[in-house]
Symmetry: C2
Subunit: 159 residues, 2 copies
Amino acid sequence: MIEAAVKPVVKTGGDLRGLNHSLGFLLRVSQLKVFDHFFKKLGHVGLKPGEYSVLWLIFNNPRIRQGLAAQTLSIKNAHMTKLIRSFEESGFVTRTIPDGDRRAVELDLTVSGRDFVTFHQQEFFGYIQSLNSPLNDAETKELIRLLAKFACVDQELTK
Amino acid sequence: MIEAAVKPVVKTGGDLRGLNHSLGFLLRVSQLKVFDHFFKKLGHVGLKPGEYSVLWLIFNNPRIRQGLAAQTLSIKNAHMTKLIRSFEESGFVTRTIPDGDRRAVELDLTVSGRDFVTFHQQEFFGYIQSLNSPLNDAETKELIRLLAKFACVDQELTK
DNA sequence: TCATAAATGTTTCCTTGTAAACTATCTACA
DNA sequence: TGTAGATAGTTTACAAGGAAACATTTATGA
């Protein structure tokens, strides 16, 4: 015990040498931490963060165009096609080809899709509270503000 | 045209409704931004951020164990095996099985590996300067501090 | 000391996400 | 009009990364 108290704090890993100040590296490690916690807390629900975000977006933007949804969430069109198809198969989302532009696809939630979103809303937006982060509330708020500013994401609640 | 001029300022994307305050979402979007910029600036070099970080780690920790390298960078063992093999093939890294523990693998840079790291060091650590971020210097510094604290990455230069 | 467990990487298979080519539809303008 | 180009989404082919089972070597403990 005395030894443990006396000996200097030794890192368990290798020497990062400047990588510990690299924005790209820190973003990646932070994201891994959030994802780990997400799966521990919400893995049983069966949806990943990005998937829930798609449902959430459609929930709040009925009849949104598939391409706009992809662009808003920074998901590639090719990937969005697959996500939407799987949501169709699970009965959460409907695709409608509007008469005005028959190239396009409008997305909507089914009743069970809306039920799912409302039922899990608290979990998906609140899981981060249980993360036991080293940051206090003010720091967390500031981190979110800085990230949003950096990524040019509007911080107002509604458009 | 008159219509476009008259209509209120409309966001180009859908309404994110709270997702714009989600740490997970903001981390993902921020990382995409950094990666995009990285590839624009350093795509010609042919290494991705994570790959360079592996070389950098070995450069600063000669004879590091492969598993410790993976753990330090939060890279899975299975993935690290593939990375190291490709570095072996490109002649940047050597693998040594130490006599003391014949399960283990020690990593080292070849001469050309060390040359590569030192030659590109400025680019890999400096590309972020050219990102034209909306954050000023103090904000960037604070963002890095908060991310490091959040992810529990030691901010001292050396261990 | 011999069986059992743990540690270290590797292999295999799978999921996620992307790029590029493709189909279908719409717009512009000669 | 009708044709060239733009737009919206899909398909295909692939690369990145991870989970689980595996082989090998080392540590443990009865």
